[in-house]
Symmetry: C2
Subunit: 534 residues, 2 copies
């Protein structure tokens, strides 16, 4: 029997954070917030979440693909956003999934969509459910009669590998580890490693424009998509496998980032590469964060295109075990399947030195597993698992990931940070923490990722405090010219800021495109755009 995803937090049921790590987390945050300890709300059990009876029943022909199993319904009623985790810990389920459908073929997806259209049921496409922005939680409001979560977990195969063109046709429900395992025999890799890698799927990555492993060049999944197949209420669409095209606006780019509102992606031809055999990585210390930022800018404009180029401010570097709190740390690395990359690292370190950066260690082939870079990587993959344990302790945490051009960065960063720190103090009555790193960088600007931590005085305050801080920071992002998301997607929770970011005429075009493909507006209602009458 396959292991189950947690409904109350990150990962699978058997992903247990060791007690020693919990103790580290508690002592770190107790010291930070100046408290003795934390009251701990117990982890919820599925049976503690009460759900109303399903409002819709699948026809007999589809019954074998559908379940109303309590655990499955609970799992599909939440995303992994912090507000959803708060709801879980409150044992509240304001917008439950009525039925969970588990198609085994593309035809099943078509048939399920037909049924939902007949039944006027909202359709929530579900991959790994790892959305941190409410992208897979059913809508609480709307004119639909019920909510059906269509979970693609059984569409999990690599169907075809073209080793010559280094591409593969892959089903949308394929999870990260399985995808890489299926490619491994061919010596190929997608190398798309979002933090959610273990519990997210190809279809989810494409629908949300996920950001991955590469800090430069191939930052988003967008560029790795060669072609798509999408099931819409109006039929099935398939784009051509083309390495490049100039034939009208890109059809793929309309569906990449459509967050399930235009159709359900069932498979894609993806661009792969050989597994890297040459690597060089180093970490570089900067006494001043903004000087480090200047170094990163120089790197991003050098044409060296580092694979890894992630600077952490002093507090975040300390939290990640990379430094003692006095220094910002840049992890910079190169990889190749074809040629040595030592000269590239050497030049990168020269650029860093020009801006006062001190290289901690330059390292050889296994450097990605050693030193600061390795420690960062280990902690990086582990951090999301703390979220539920923080919620249980009234610690709220959120990440604001955005993008901005270089010349505005310093003011932009300061304004979000100030807005966050002020809101944290105002909401909780005590100081909170706002740290910053870059996840990706471009020649014209960085993708800053700000992590906020605050401590609420009670479970009852948690949701309100969270939104007070979220709103203040998001307002600052939009006012400062940034994007409300660089790679987490819009979901339900960024929607109100997305509406301010997105040009109104583009909304009109997108609304019309959606109307043409989903005339009853049943695909992920409430995401991205609303019908004209709304």
């Amino acid at each position: 029997m396959a292991k189950r995803l947690k409904f109350w937090g990150w990962g699978y049921e058997d992903d247990v954070v060791p007690d020693s790590e919990i103790r580290w987390m508690e002592s770190t945050w107790a010291a930070r917030f100046g408290v003795q300890g934390f009251d701990v709300t117990p982890t919820p059990k599925a049976e503690e979440i009460s759900l109303p009876a399903p409002r819709v029943t699948p026809p007999a022909s589809l019954a074998s693909l559908c379940t109303t199993d309590h655990y499955e319904r609970v799992l599909h009623s939440y995303s992994k956003s912090f507000p959803d985790i708060i709801r879980v810990y409150r044992r509240e389920c304001p917008a439950p999934a009525d039925v969970v459908a588990l198609p085994r073929t593309e035809q099943d997806v078509i048939d399920l969509l037909d049924w939902c259209y007949r039944a006027n049921a909202a359709v929530i496409p579900f991959g790994g459910g790892s959305s941190v922005v409410g992208g897979v939680a059913p809508p609480a409001e709307g004119s639909h009669s019920a909510a059906v979560s269509i979970d693609l977990r059984h569409l999990g195969r690599v169907l075809e590998i073209d080793a010559v063109s280094q591409s593969a046709r892959i089903q949308a429900g394929t999870f990260g580890p399985s995808l890489e395992a299926q490619l491994k025999g061919a010596g190929l890799t997608l190398r798309h490693f979002p933090q959610s890698f273990k519990c997210s799927t190809l279809g989810g990555w494409i629908a949300t424009r996920a950001g991955g492993h590469f800090a430069t060049l191939y930052t988003h999944i967008d560029d790795l998509v060669e072609s798509l197949r999408v099931v819409t209420p109006s039929g099935v669409l398939e784009t051509r496998r083309l390495p490049g095209s100039g034939a009208g606006p890109s059809p793929d780019r309309l569906f990449i980032g459509s967050e399930g509102t235009l159709g359900i992606i069932t498979e894609a031809w993806m661009r792969l590469r050989r597994r890297p055999t040459f690597r060089a990585t180093a970490s570089v210390r900067f006494a001043d964060f903004y000087r480090g930022v200047d170094a990163v800018r120089a790197l991003s404009q050098s044409g060296l295109y580092p694979t890894n180029c992630r600077i952490l401010d002093a507090e975040e570097a300390q939290y990640n075990g990379l430094a003692d709190g006095r220094f910002s740390v840049l992890v910079v690395g190169f990889e190749s399947a074809d040629h040595p990359v030592d000269a590239a690292l050497k030049r990168a370190l020269e650029l860093c030195a020009d801006h006062g950066g001190e290289a901690e260690a330059s390292a050889g082939d296994d450097s990605h597993l050693e030193g600061a870079a390795g420690r960062w990587r280990e902690r990086f993959m582990f951090l999301p698992f703390f979220k539920e344990h923080m919620a249980a302790r009234c610690i709220f945490r959120d990440a604001y990931e955005t993008a901005i051009t270089w010349e505005r960065f310093k003011d932009f960063h300061a304004s979000i940070r100030d807005a966050g720190l002020n809101a944290l103090r105002k909401a909780t009555g005590r100081p909170g923490s706002v740290t910053c790193r870059f996840t990706h960088v471009y020649p014209d600007g960085p993708a800053p990722y700000l992590t906020f931590h605050g401590l609420s005085s009670s479970p009852e305050r948690l949701m309100q405090d969270y939104w007070t801080v979220k709103s203040a920071a998001s307002d600052a992002i939009i006012a400062g010219g940034g994007s409300i998301t660089h790679h987490h997607a819009v979901g339900r929770e960024h929607r109100r800021w997305y509406d301010r970011q997105r040009p109104e005429l583009f909304a009109r075009a997108l609304r019309s495109a959606k109307q043409a493909l989903d005339p009853k507006w049943l695909l992920n209602p409430g995401l991205l755009v609303d019908p004209e009458t709304a």
Copy 2:
């Protein structure tokens, strides 16, 4: 007084092909087609083209922005496609522009669009007029009352340079040379050098997804666009300056490649770079074209990302003065503003040697002006000027530029080539020529560019012969899975194949988006999609 663009061919009136080059062209093709010489249709004069009286009169408030000058109307009644050049040489003008409007501000564009909407006049956005696919020629059919060509030549300024983020805000009517001249003082460059560079504009490049200088990575203008301003009949749209974003489907990507059907691009923030100071270039000979292709594939998948990576088959290499007809030639080069690129070239030449390639010369910093690469570059920029002289001699020429994944390339290439050679023989009664080079390459496939030459027996046959060959080759491209265009755009002349390439449901979405922005369907009627009732 500004020099005038030719209405009958490529470039400006003072761009005269030297007699020696004309003699070289004539002798080359006389030998190739086995004829003694050519009858030459004289170059048309503007007064030989008769135009009906304009069907529409601008209001007094816009009169100063509009002209019905005969030369301007003739210039704006043709694109630079081969069929349009044939029409010019026949002194035929089946779909004249009634009025040419020359806005000086964005508000002028808004006002002109308002007037066209009131007058039910088709709007043809016009940059440099260099479309080789009929993209700027007014439609011959439709329900519009007249055709107004809106020429952006007076919106030709770089408005703002952000040297920190290496970006600039540039008006859409800025021509290539002027754009680079205005950036030069800041030490920055767009480095987008399509073959049309001299007589095309930023807005045209964006509207047509133009391909440029870089053979890998930044192949199309798409990736260089940071944000856009577009005037539509429903209002003005501006996207945010963002180095990267994951907030819904990209708004920019809907307008990039929209070929004037969704709005008129008035300005864009463009991503720039420093001018390169390090260069290394070589040419490599291959006895067998397909082995050369294998070498290019290895290069494209190496992660070396050469700036130049253009292989020419033996016949095309000979025609371009790069070889004697026995060898295919690959021109490969690297450039950087930051670091030496000799090691990259060395590794590239090793990959070529693995596939039987013999490097002709590796060269130093000025190599882009010397040797095979320099000769190729010189001839490359010159070739379009021959087109009118060929049309005058009943030689027809066309380029089929497409993209395909590597594993299909050999069969695909053979099928287009065979279809072309058969059609050439059938149409003209004598052999023609089909050659191939790559303009751009991707890890998953090349962008092959096939050049066709044929000789018609009379001016009366020329159009028909051209379309016989065009249709046969285009059918082969679509049947073989390619794109009907990689970077020339769809225009009027690729439309029927684009309709077969583009997924029908995407057409439906695009149609709805257009309906929302251009409810009277007056923007470039006939391009990309038609209204539902058509």
